[in-house]
Every structure is written in structure tokens, then in C-alpha cells.
């Protein structure tokens, strides 16, 4: 309890301090100190809680009227902030939707929900602990990385631009606090408050630069996520109306017995999770979020925001296991998103957009796993969440650093990165491999996903997974290849990368490798107990022998990548260019008219097959159709009736 309170309150204190401090040196000390403290406290909490409780759920008796009122206050504050920006930038729809949401939220909270007591306001279990690690360690690492990055960012800004960094860092820490609220709250109202705080924080972070594009994308984000928030509020209302509870634990207990009305609640909570996890048709808000400074993207994609969405969905997995309508909705939307976004990633040359599509695709897979809802699927989902958080944060930080040093985030410009930024390129390659190839953990989790789809006989999902994975190979392998190019010895441009950036990169890289190597152990200590605590059984998992084979392969690959490359002494020759060579490092040769021609090669983007204009609408409309049908069926399921309130 003390730990949980600390983890929620301390980042807020740090945020308050950061908002007030304008000096760079003081900010540096606060961010480094607070980041380290949050990271250590998170680990300390996990280390003390795990041996005592395993992954079992621990409900904490805690109920406070004051916190209820604070939550209501925050809800109003959020609405005021959004309405202010909507008024200032004349965005009509954001204003409307914020008004609807605040009215709905206040009605639900004060009229219905506050009548119901939740004696056990807080809880934690294996999944919360896993999320604690992701938020506390990876989230803090990103905050620390942001120190160096934002210094460079400010230098790249036009002369006389306002320095909004205090605001930026404060928001980052508020974000962490809100995430802790989400993963520890058993009271759905409190969870909803945390949920909305993350929405508005990312709204402000995306709009950080206040350029026209940033403002437009920020509003797109807020409109979509507030729509999700409305879904959440409706879910809470349905929960009070049919099940007379606002406790997440009790709802899941009722839901997994398929109590009447539970399917309806699950559909709306699923809808909220889908918007937050940027599943189709809401994928555009996460793509738009790319305009923000890279640490924001890293934070949104890896450890917070979208992870809140899938956290909720995975939490609801036992409900999906028995309620068909929400299960099929979540499964199909996740599956469609996984496949379509993997296709779309092939056609992108902007590194951050590739990362964004891959994030959405992976979240789709996690969503589909949650929808399947069997013990094996939840096991896979937990590991997908962990490995995605690690590898993706590493990749975003790499792309951010590369962007400041080579002046571009286009993959085609990352040619020769292996020479120009040798250490960074290796980190990036590690991150990419961690994302898609065996024996790294991500693929092991995909393997478990496949097994769970086969065991439950989800033919559509098997097909989706097979084609989506093939596309995944394509877009990662060609990026990896671009990085691997070597020619002569161009100037090393990574010498002035900030120490804080290296620190954060090294930490996430080491964690990525460690998590892959120790996967069997992590499974045994944290994920398996969680699955057992939820379902009572473990289900058939991947035999640990296979996991250890994978571990050995990981070690081999990492040793080759960081130790074995570039030491051999062999005679060097130039590449063949079908003509008299001129400068081999520049790939120029003498052509038939004795002029100099540069040989160029670009990767394939296959716009005709996988272009956005062609693929995206299919995914969007398929998902919309699925969700509309699901909502209608859910209402049919309860007979359109509204039960009498007690």
C-alpha cells in the first residue's frame, strides 16, 4: 500500500517541481533523481510483492470519499482544459465531445457510481506488477533520455521560440503517475480518472510544438480518445445498472460467469480499450502523434497510453473467454488491425511511421489475444506487452538520436548508419531483431499466440497471423538491411550524443536482451502465477526446453552483433559496378560516355500492393462494421431493456 501510494504521488511531486523550475541544471538533477527513484521504487515494490504473493491478486482495503471528490475535480479540470483549447483553436467537435463526456461522466459518477461503495479501492496482481516494471523502469528511462534530446530539440527550434520544457517534463511525470493509477485501481471510477488524465496529457504533449500540424493531430487524438472515454463512462453506467458494482475485480468475477449485462459492459470497455490502443479505425491518432518530440512518441508507444488500452483488454480476458459478442469484436478488430497495419508498414519509408504502424500491429495482436481470452492467449499477451515495450522504446530512442545527428528520420537516409554511428546502429539492429525474429522474446510470444489460436480453432486469426507475420518480416528485414550497409570509413557522427541518451539506450538494450534470455524464468516467476490466479489452470504452454534453446540463440546473436563484427583482417576489394569504378565508397562509376554516374538503390515499398490509399480503408471499414454489429448484438443480448435501479 505504501509503495502504491508512493508510486502514484511521487511522480506528481516531481512534476510540480519540474513545472516550476526553469534552470537546465536543476531540471537535470530533478529528472535524473526522480527517474532513478521511480525506477528503484518500482523494482523494490516488485521484489517485495512477488515472493510474498506470487502473481496472485491482492485486494487492498482502501476507500476514501476525498479521493472520489478529487477524481470528480480532475474530470472537470480535464474538461476545462480541453474546452479552453477547443475555444482557442476553434475546434468545434472537440468542444462538443468534451462537453458530452464531462456531463456524462459527472452524471454517472455522482448519481450512480458514488452510491456504490468499493471497499477495496486498490489492488495489484502479476499483470499490474509487469506494468509497474514497464512504467517505472522504461518510462523513467525515456524521461531521462528526454533530457539530452530536448536540449538538442530546443537548439533546432527557430530563434526566439518559447522554451516549454518545464511544461513538457512535468507532463511526462504526470503521465507516469496516471499510469500507476490505471494499473492499481480496482475502483472503476478512479481507473477512469487515470484513463482521462493520460488522454489529456498526450493531447498536450502531441500539441507541444503548437505548429498547425501538431494542433490538428492533437485534436484528432483528443476527439478519438474522448469518444473512447464516453464508451468507458457508458460501460460504468451499465456496470452500475446491471451488476450494481463499480469494482473491476467484481465485474470480472461476474463477467466470467457471463452474468446478464456483462457482455454489454465488456463491449463498451472493449471499445474504450480499442480507441486507446489505437486499433483500426482509430489508428490515425497514433500516426498523427508522430509530430511530437520523439520522447513523447517513445512514451506513448512503449510504456504508457496505448499500453493502458491493452492492459484493460488483457484484464478483461476472462470475460471475453465466456462472452461471445465482445470477444469476437475485440478479436476481429485486433486481428484486422494486425494484418492491415503490417501491410501498411511495408509502404512507409519514414522510420517513425514504420514504428507507429508496427506498434499498432503489435497492439492488434495483443488485442486479439485478449479477445481469445484463454490462459495460453493471456500468457502470450503478457509477454507481447513486455517485449514490445522494451524493443519499441529502444527503437524510438535510437531513431530520435539518429534524427538529430543525420538530420533525417527517413530509412533511406539511414544508409551506412553502421559506419556513421556504429554503436547506435547496433542498438537499432538489436531493437529491430527484438521486434520480429526468433529467438527474441517477441517472436516467442507470437509463437504462443499462434498456439492459442490453433487450440481455440480460430481459423480466421490463424490466417491473419500467418500473412501479417510475413509482412512483418518484409518491413523489418529491409530496414535492418539498410542499417547494415558498410562502405569505407565515413566520419563517425555519434561522438556528441548526450550521456543521458546513451544511458537510456544502454539500459533498454540490456533489459531487452536480459528479458529475452530470462524469458523462461520470467514466465515461471511472474506470468504463470498470474495466469493461474485468473484461470486456476495454466493451459498448455511452450515447453521450457524450447525456451532455453531460444535463450541460447539470443546470446549467440547478441555476441555476434556486439562482439564478432568487424575484427577480421581480409583483403578488401571494391564492389562490382558493371563499369570502371570511380569512388567505391560513394558508389560512383564511369559510364559509357565517360561521365560519372552514381549507382543508387532504394528499398522496395510496393506502393501498388500495400499503399495507404489502398489498404487502410479496407481495415477501417471492416473494423467499423465489426464494432457496429457488436454493439447492436450486445444490446439485443440484454433485450434493449434498462433494469430498474436500486
Amino acid at each position: 500500500m505504501a509503495f502504491i501510494a508512493f508510486l502514484i504521488i511521487f511522480p506528481l511531486v516531481a512534476a510540480a517541481a519540474l513545472a516550476l523550475v526553469r534552470a537546465e541544471s536543476a531540471r537535470r538533477i530533478i529528472v535524473l533523481g526522480a527517474g532513478a527513484i521511480i525506477g528503484i521504487a518500482s523494482i523494490a515494490f516488485i521484489v517485495t510483492a512477488l515472493p510474498a504473493y506470487g502473481g496472485k491478486i491482492v485486494l487492498i482495503a482502501f476507500d476514501s470519499e476525498i479521493i472520489d471528490h478529487i477524481g470528480t475535480g480532475i474530470t472537470i479540470l480535464i474538461a476545462v482544459v480541453v474546452l479552453y483549447f477547443a475555444w482557442r483553436y476553434k475546434n468545434f467537435w472537440a468542444g462538443i465531445i468534451a462537453t458530452i463526456q464531462v456531463v456524462l461522466a459527472l452524471v454517472v459518477e455522482t448519481l450512480f457510481a458514488h452510491q456504490l461503495d468499493v471497499p477495496y479501492g486498490l489492488y495489484f496482481d502479476g499483470l499490474s506488477l509487469l506494468m509497474t516494471f514497464i512504467i517505472g523502469v522504461i518510462g523513467s528511462a525515456i524521461c531521462i533520455y528526454a533530457l539530452g534530446y530536448m536540449e538538442d530539440f530546443q537548439k533546432h527550434e527557430p530563434e526566439g521560440a518559447r522554451d516549454r520544457r518545464p511544461f513538457f517534463f512535468a507532463l511526462m511525470f504526470v503521465f507516469l503517475s496516471a499510469m500507476y493509477v490505471i494499473v492499481f485501481s480496482n475502483n472503476l471510477i478512479w481507473l477512469f480518472t487515470g484513463w482521462e488524465v493520460t488522454t489529456v496529457c498526450s493531447f498536450l504533449l502531441i500539441g507541444y510544438t503548437r505548429t498547425e500540424e501538431a494542433i490538428r493531430n492533437a485534436f484528432r487524438q483528443i476527439i478519438m480518445n474522448m469518444a473512447g472515454g464516453i464508451g468507458f463512462a457508458i460501460a460504468i453506467y451499465c456496470c452500475t445498472a446491471w451488476l450494481h458494482t463499480v469494482s473491476l475485480y467484481e465485474f470480472i468475477a461476474y463477467g466470467s460467469m457471463a452474468a446478464p449485462g456483462a457482455a454489454l459492459v465488456a463491449v463498451f470497455l472493449g471499445f474504450a480499450g480499442i480507441t486507446k490502443a489505437a486499433q483500426m479505425p482509430f489508428q490515425t491518432w497514433l500516426l498523427g502523434a508522430m509530430v511530437a518530440p520523439t520522447p513523447t512518441s517513445a512514451l506513448l508507444h512503449s510504456s504508457t497510453m496505448v499500453k493502458a488500452g491493452v492492459f484493460l483488454l488483457v484484464k478483461l480476458a476472462p470475460v471475453f473467454a465466456v462472452c461471445e459478442v465482445p470477444s469476437i469484436m475485440v478479436m476481429l478488430v485486433g486481428g484486422i488491425t494486425f494484418m492491415m497495419c503490417s501491410f501498411l508498414a511495408i509502404s512507409q519509408s519514414n522510420g517513425k511511421r514504420v514504428l507507429a504502424y508496427s506498434t499498432i500491429a503489435n497492439l492488434g495482436l495483443i488485442t486479439a489475444c485478449a479477445g481469445v481470452g484463454t490462459p495460453e492467449a493471456v500468457w502470450a499477451a503478457c509477454f507481447l506487452i513486455l517485449f514490445h515495450a522494451l524493443a519499441k522504446s529502444l527503437l524510438f530512442m535510437c531513431v530520435g538520436t539518429a534524427e538529430h545527428h543525420i538530420g533525417s528520420r527517413d530509412i533511406e537516409d539511414m544508409d551506412l548508419l553502421f559506419d556513421r554511428m556504429p554503436r547506435l546502429a547496433r542498438f537499432m539492429m538489436l531493437g529491430i531483431m527484438g521486434m520480429f525474429i526468433a529467438p527474441f522474446g517477441m517472436l516467442i510470444a507470437k509463437w504462443a499466440t499462434l498456439v492459442s489460436f490453433v487450440d481455440t480453432g480460430e481459423v480466421a486469426l490463424i490466417i491473419i497471423l500467418a500473412f501479417g507475420s510475413a509482412a512483418t518480416f518484409m518491413f523489418w528485414a529491409k530496414w535492418l538491411g539498410k542499417l547494415a550497409g558498410i562502405a569505407g570509413s565515413p566520419e563517425n557522427v555519434e561522438l556528441d550524443v548526450h550521456k543521458t541518451e546513451w544511458g537510456a539506450l544502454l539500459l533498454t538494450a540490456v533489459l531487452t536482451v536480459a528479458a529475452c534470455v530470462l524469458l523462461p524464468l520470467l514466465s515461471y516467476v511472474i506470468v504463470e502465477p498470474y495466469v493461474v490466479s485468473v484461470y486456476g489452470v495454466l493451459g498448455q504452454d511452450i515447453a521450457s526446453d524450447n525456451l532455453w534453446i531460444a535463450s541460447i540463440c539470443v546470446i549467440f546473436v547478441v555476441v555476434v552483433l556486439f562482439g564478432g563484427i568487424g575484427s577480421k583482417k581480409t583483403r578488401r576489394v571494391s564492389v562490382y559496378l558493371a563499369g570502371v569504378g570511380d569512388n567505391h565508397d560513394e558508389r560512383t562509376f564511369r559510364n559509357s560516355l565517360s561521365g560519372i554516374t552514381t549507382a543508387t538503390a532504394r528499398n522496395w515499398y510496393m506502393e501498388d500492393f500495400f499503399g495507404e490509399a489502398r489498404v487502410a480503408p479496407i481495415g477501417v471499414w471492416a473494423s467499423v462494421l465489426v464494432m457496429v454489429v457488436a454493439v447492436i448484438l450486445a444490446f439485443v443480448g440484454v433485450g434493449f431493456g434498462v433494469p430498474v435501479l436500486m
Binding site: 526468433a438 500473412f467 518480416f473 538491411g481 555476434v560 564478432g564 577480421k568 571494391s574 562490382y576 538503390a601
Partner: protein, 289 residues
């Protein structure tokens, strides 16, 4: 225990597969020659070629290409070891994909425009056959109730009985995997098919020898995939599997010699359509009936 078996399997595979693969390559060249009305080289010609390559000076365009190729070879052997020691089929599929990836990176690292085109095409080939290969693993699981290859020896009927559609799909992508025409886009054994030899453009001497050995090992492994459809509890079934492998390989040689290279658009579309129809329908039948 599995770890130990896998280790033994890898060692045995590392020794036996190159021998078998070399002989298969020799037979391949003789049969191809006869189909073209030539006498063809001696059976051991592939061995002589590789021995000569190994004796050459180690020359390369950069310091890393060879390392990547060694990784590709090692992981091909690990994949073979897992398969032939009765290990997990999915693990085998994933490890062989890892080997392909190292092969692709090796080509990219040279930064030769020709090798890059080859690497792009190789990536496309992986994307084309990957769905069908995954369906093969799923079909195996549904047929044998396990992903472990040694589970085959407890069956009463071979898995081909329920998965013949998947088997046909596998035969289709096998042409890509064995690097046979019409789908030898990334590198061709036929000199007339391309101006400069794709992926291996910048590989020479011992490095090229390793690529060749890797190709032999791959072929043995993929033919093992073909054979596993026909194995069941009866030990004699292995003979049947070998006979089927011989027929299938002959068919591949015939296709290789009778079709000119196709465009990549055709390869991608046809491989995916075949995977969707053969794999999807077969799996749907296995699940629902």
C-alpha cells in the same frame, strides 16, 4: 533432455546434411543435364566446386559479410538439428527464418546495387512463402496433435491423410525455398537467367563456399519437411517418405528446367493465393470437421 538431443542432432546434421545435400546437388545437375540433352558433370562435381572455393584467398568487400554468412550457416544447421532430432517444428521454422535473415543482411552489408536488388528479392521471397510454411506447421499440429516431430512415430495414419491440400501448397512454395526456376528471383543457378548474380554478387572464395554448403543443408531440411507428411508409427514408412522425397525432387528439377523466371508480382500473388486457398481451406476442415 531436449537440449541434449538438439545438441546431438545439430552435430550429426552438421556432418551428414552437407554430405547428403552435396550428393543431391550432384544428382540434380546430372538429371538437369540429361533433360537438356547433355551428359552433365560427374556426381561429385558440387563437392569439387566447393573444395576449390574453400582453397581460394579470402577476399571480401567488407569485414562483416563473412560473419553474417557464418551465422546463417550455423542457424541453418541448428534448424536442421532441431528437426531431425525430433524437436519442435515451429522452432525449426523460426530458426530457419533467422538464417534467411542473416543471409539477407550479408547481401545488404556489401552495399552493391546488384546484391541489394538480390536482397530485396530474397526478402520478398521470404514474405511470399512464409504464410504457407506457417500453415504447414499448423496443419502438422492439427494432424499430429503436437508440434514435436518425434510425435509422428506414435501416429496410426500419416498426417498426409488429413493435410494433403496443405502438402500441395507446400510443394508450390518449395520451388521458392529450393531456389528453383521460375521462382529463383534472388539468385539463380542458371547462368542465362540474370546479368549479375543477385544476393551472392559480392561473395567469393570461402564465403561463397559456405553459402553453397548452407544451400545443401537447407535442401536436406526442406526435403525432410516433405517426407514428414508420410511418416507414421510403422518404421517402414520412412522408406515411403524417402520415395516421395525422390519423386518430389524429380518434379522440382523438371519444373526448374521447363519454366523461365517469373516476375516478383506473380510470385507474391500466386504464393499468397495458394497459401490462402490450400492452407486456409485445409485448416478450416481440420478445425471444424
Amino acid at each position: 533432455m531436449t537440449l541434449l538431443y538438439t545438441l546431438i542432432g545439430c552435430i550429426v546434421f552438421a556432418i551428414v546434411a552437407p554430405l547428403v545435400g552435396c550428393l543431391i546437388a550432384g544428382v540434380d545437375r546430372i538429371i538437369s543435364a540429361r533433360m537438356q540433352g547433355r551428359v552433365g558433370p560427374p556426381l561429385l562435381q558440387p563437392y569439387y566446386d566447393v573444395r576449390k572455393l574453400l582453397a581460394k584467398e579470402n577476399v571480401s568487400v567488407n569485414s562483416v559479410e563473412n560473419t553474417y554468412i557464418v551465422c546463417a550457416l550455423v542457424f541453418t544447421i541448428v534448424a536442421g538439428g532441431i528437426f531431425f532430432s525430433g524437436g519442435n517444428l515451429l522452432m525449426c521454422v523460426f530458426v530457419i527464418t533467422l538464417a534467411s535473415m542473416f543471409f539477407i543482411i550479408a547481401a545488404y552489408s556489401a552495399r552493391s546495387p546488384y546484391a541489394e536488388v538480390g536482397a530485396n528479392r530474397e526478402t520478398l521471397q521470404v514474405m511470399s512463402y512464409e504464410p504457407m510454411v506457417l500453415f504447414m506447421a499448423v496443419g502438422f499440429y492439427l494432424g499430429a496433435q503436437t508440434f514435436d516431430i518425434n510425435g509422428l512415430f506414435t501416429l496410426d495414419v500419416p498426417i498426409i491423410a488429413n493435410t494433403w491440400l496443405i502438402f500441395i501448397g507446400l510443394l508450390f512454395v518449395l520451388t521458392i525455398k529450393l531456389r528453383k526456376s521460375p521462382f529463383d528471383l534472388s539468385m539463380s543457378h542458371h547462368a542465362h537467367q540474370e546479368i549479375v548474380r543477385g544476393v551472392t554478387t559480392e561473395m567469393s572464395g570461402p564465403t561463397l563456399a559456405r553459402v553453397e554448403i548452407m544451400h545443401w543443408c537447407e535442401n536436406v531440411l526442406f526435403l525432410g519437411w516433405v517426407g514428414m507428411f508420410f511418416v507414421w508409427g510403422n518404421p517402414l514408412s520412412i522408406l515411403l517418405a524417402l520415395a516421395v522425397i525422390a519423386v518430389v525432387y524429380f518434379l522440382e528439377i523438371w519444373i526448374d528446367n521447363n519454366f523461365a523466371r517469373m516476375k516478383w508480382q506473380f510470385m507474391l500473388k500466386s504464393a499468397w493465393i495458394v497459401a490462402l486457398v490450400a492452407g486456409g481451406v485445409n485448416i478450416a476442415f481440420l478445425v471444424f470437421l
